[in-house]
């Protein structure tokens, strides 16, 4: 309280301090320096790779950190900090050969000990407090063979492990630096082996990245990247239009036209990981009847929704995954728009015209708010009276959804960055999953477990397609669309490659 009741001196000091810090951050001080300015919606709140699951981290951390495996914009797995790997002892051991001559940004060498430290930390006490550990529990132990070789001993097969090693929790961290500065300092100013180091992180404001001179794979083309967090859509777009930022992420759909028409800006779109679907209460009410679910699916013209409300910036989907996802079945077609069939099915199921049903969704999704109104109109045409209920985001995902308190229909969007259907399908269809309140089906459980038990991609593909087919056949969900990941880029920017998974890399980007 003391600091509050003494405003004249202390606050004046703080203001002066703030002014000097901000003054120093003004670009004018650095004439020869090229700075790329990026605006993204959210602050990851913590830069430690094991303390986050946020896409907003991916767009920053992918420039600071590297994993043993690298997955770039084409989504193909390539050597990263490991140059090669082999499966030994009937797949119970994975041996990684590590790259020579790599250093962390403070000069600490990258070696087998750093890899072991990274995974001991992730699977140990420190990882306990973070959300990433649950992704890596298939690893029993990491053993140092020699300075350039490590073995991963596995508890069980994990077919998505190599993909996961290319992102988030598996990013290699520096043991000496963490021991020296402590975990809390590492949250705010971490160090990795990537092309940029963190110069300054101001929560709620932004992160300044500076080119690392010791990067093993060449040097970044800009000297610094200034990433700003601007949560308000309108404000982010205003900064983009006024030239205050060079690249903007999280483009709101209503802004698509404005960006397209602008002379200075370019809209870049790529198939994204995010799928939007409406799910059904399959246990009680009229949607427990598969004929009613199928009727609803045929009553809604998702193509029209994509063209009119999403500006064409999405693709139709037949299961809860996009075309780029492993496990996608290209032969599965979305339910056809057929209102007459819908009416027939509803009549067969004994649903009287004018029957009320409800749809719940999280209120922060402005796009879906509009989509839901159009859905209500479509359902009205086949005799169902749909009421829509928005809930505050956290209430929706903490209470309404996991506790099965939803209406007959409810909205779900999911963007698994791994682009492997396992990630989505397990979450949506396996019995007992926290966000799957209604489906408990031995057939689905068996298929989902079968594809988790093997590295044989053909077996996995068959099982995952089996899941999609089964869900489609029983209309357990109504998949709506696969949203494109959109970026707006000022034309003074060069070399920008859009990342489908939002894990942008600024290494080869230039600014004029």
């Amino acid at each position: 309280m003391k600091s509050i009741s003494a405003p004249p001196t202390r606050n004046a000091l703080r203001l002066a301090l703030l002014a000097s810090v901000l003054g120093a951050a003004v670009p004018g001080a650095s004439l020869a320096e090229t700075v790329l300015t990026v605006a993204q919606r959210s602050d990851p709140q913590n830069l430690d790779p094991i303390d986050t699951f946020k896409i907003s981290w991916g767009a920053i951390g992918s420039n600071v950190f590297e994993g043993l495996v690298f997955r770039g914009e084409d989504l193909e797995l390539q050597p990263g900090l490991a140059t090669s790997w082999e499966f030994l002892d009937e797949d119970r051991r994975i041996r990684f050969h590590l790259r020579e001559g790599v250093e962390f940004q403070d000069g600490e060498p990258f070696d087998a000990a750093a890899v072991k430290y990274t995974f001991d930390r992730l699977l140990g006490e420190q990882g306990e407090k973070g959300p990433q550990r649950s992704n890596y529990t298939s690893i029993k132990e990491v053993v140092v063979v020699d300075d350039r070789t490590v073995d991963f001993l596995m508890n069980r097969p994990d077919p998505v492990l190599l993909t996961k090693l290319a992102g988030y929790g598996a990013m290699i961290v520096p043991p000496d630096y963490i021991e020296k500065v402590g975990e809390e300092a590492f949250d705010m100013k971490p160090i990795g082996t990537g092309p940029f180091r963190v110069e300054e992180y101001t929560p709620g404001v932004g992160v300044k990245l500076v080119k690392s001179d010791s990067y093993w794979n060449g040097a970044a083309k800009v000297d610094a990247v200034n990433i700003r967090f601007i949560p308000e859509d309108a404000t982010r777009m205003a900064e983009l239009q006024s030239g205050g930022v060079d690249i903007a992420l999280d483009i709101p759909k209503p802004s698509v036209d404005t960006i397209r028409k602008s002379r200075n800006l370019e809209l870049v779109s790529v198939d994204g990981p995010t799928v939007s679907l409406t799910r059904f209460n399959t246990q009680s009410g009229i949607t427990a009847d598969p004929r009613v679910r199928r009727a609803i699916a045929h009553a809604i013209d998702t193509n029209a929704i994509i063209q009119s409300l999403l500006g064409g910036m999405a693709s139709p989907i037949a299961s809860a995954q996009g075309a780029k996802s492993f496990g996608n079945d290209p032969d599965l077609a979305p339910y056809a728009y057929d209102p007459e069939l819908a009416k027939t099915l509803l009549a067969e199921a004994g649903v009287a015209p004018g029957t009320e049903i409800s749809l719940d969704y999280p209120s922060n999704d402005n796009t879906f708010r509009e989509v839901s109104q159009v859905m209500a109109a479509y359902l009205g045409m086949v005799g169902l009276n749909l009421s829509v209920h928005p809930y505050e985001y956290n209430v929706y995902y903490n209470d309404i959804l996991p506790n099965g308190k939803t209406g007959a229909l409810y909205y779900y969007a999911w963007g698994g960055w791994t682009f492997d259907f396992d990630n989505t399908a397990y979450l949506l269809y396996h019995s007992g999953e926290r966000q799957n309140a209604y489906i408990s089906d031995p057939t689905l459980d068996a298929l989902l477990e079968q594809q988790r038990d093997t590295y044989d991609q053909q077996v996995r593909l068959t099982a995952l397609q089996g899941v999609a087919d089964y869900v489609y056949e029983h209309t357990l969900d109504l998949p709506l669309y696969n949203e494109a990941t959109l970026y707006a880029v000022n034309k003074r920017v060069g070399g920008f490659v859009p990342a489908p998974d939002n894990r942008l890399r600024y290494m080869n980007v230039t600014v004029q």
Binding site: N11, R14, G130, P131, S134, E232, A238, S242, N394, Y397
Partner: protein, 308 residues
């Protein structure tokens, strides 16, 4: 010493208000969701054990009063504890509070610079065309939602004529648009206040006496009338400052201003109990403190108020 007792009374009152407000906030936010779920994210494979582990790590398994007592202790020792997701609360507030105070002060300055001359002018030309115009404009100003005005200013000065930054606090020029937005909204009220006070003072007997003595119009208005009108104007501005702090939230969001409003909204959406409790407490304390300061100044100027 009546002054000391008065101060002591008000300080105790301030502490009680803070406790009641934070207790309410602490209780209410716990009804709305579980920070462990926020921490876990949407990952598949997150089990109930994981959530239980997070709750233990965040101290959420302790009884409510134990958690609240921990917060009160952290408030008294001024360390404010740890945010659930982003480090020390004190550091976060240390970054945000100066920005909010700066914006509030700049907005007040904008408002004072516009409203005092306009208010005086209006009073001196009571009933004239300029007076009526000023009164209509201030009514229009009162009717604007402040975020709308903010967005309009951005469209005009950051996009159509890009001379000012649209958001953030990367440079001092970024202060201009948000401070002007709030300043204009405050001006709408303040012009009317200054006008009324001046009219009242101008009709007072001592002003007539001063005029009768043949003093210049300038001396009459600025040395005699304005000084007397100032007492109530300053009081009102003080109270307004307190309300303004709370009202900055929307404008901070529109302009992405890195202040307490933005921080509180983040804390709410993340269910970051320690951070939210601390931001709300500090805002409450500030409002109570400004009220106290206004009372004291008033009391010092006019001893009769102290006794009452």
């Amino acid at each position: 010493m009546p002054v000391l007792r008065f101060i002591l009374q008000r300080v105790v009152q301030a502490i009680l208000v803070t406790l009641v407000v934070t207790l309410f906030v602490a209780f209410a936010i716990r009804l709305t969701g579980d920070p462990a779920v926020m921490l876990a994210g949407d990952s598949s494979g997150v089990t109930e054990q994981d959530l239980a582990r997070f709750r233990e790590a965040l101290g959420l398994n302790d009884p409510f009063l134990v958690q609240y007592w921990g917060f009160v202790k952290s408030l008294v020792t001024l360390d404010f504890g740890q945010s659930f997701f982003r480090g020390s609360v004190r550091d976060l507030i240390g970054g945000a509070l100066p920005a909010t105070l700066l914006l509030a002060a700049a907005s007040m300055a904008v408002s004072v610079c516009i409203s005092i001359p306009l208010g005086i002018h209006s009073a001196l030309h009571k009933g004239g065309i300029s007076d009526q115009l000023i009164r209509v404009l201030s009514l229009v100003g009162l009717s604007f939602p402040n975020f709308w005005l903010g967005i309009m200013l951005v469209l005009l000065f950051a996009i159509a004529f890009p001379i000012l930054p649209a958001s953030g606090f990367q440079s001092w020029s970024a202060l201009i648009l948000p401070a002007t937005t709030i300043g204009i909204i405050l001006t709408a009220t303040n012009v009317r206040l200054v006008r009324t006070q001046m009219l009242e003072t101008l009709s007072a007997q001592y002003v007539m006496v001063a005029r009768a003595k043949g003093l210049s119009e300038w001396t009459v208005i600025y040395k005699h009338a304005l000084r007397n009108a100032a007492i109530s104007i300053v009081t009102f501005l003080g109270l307004q400052f307190g309300n303004l702090i709370g009202g900055l939230v929307i404008i901070e969001l529109v302009f992405n201003w890195p202040g307490m409003g933005t921080l509180s909204i983040d804390a709410i959406s993340q269910r970051d109990y320690p951070l939210l409790q601390a931001t709300v407490s500090i805002l409450a304390i500030m409002i109570v403190a400004v009220n106290l300061a206004v009372d004291l100044i008033y009391g010092l100027i006019d001893p009769r108020i102290r006794v009452a």
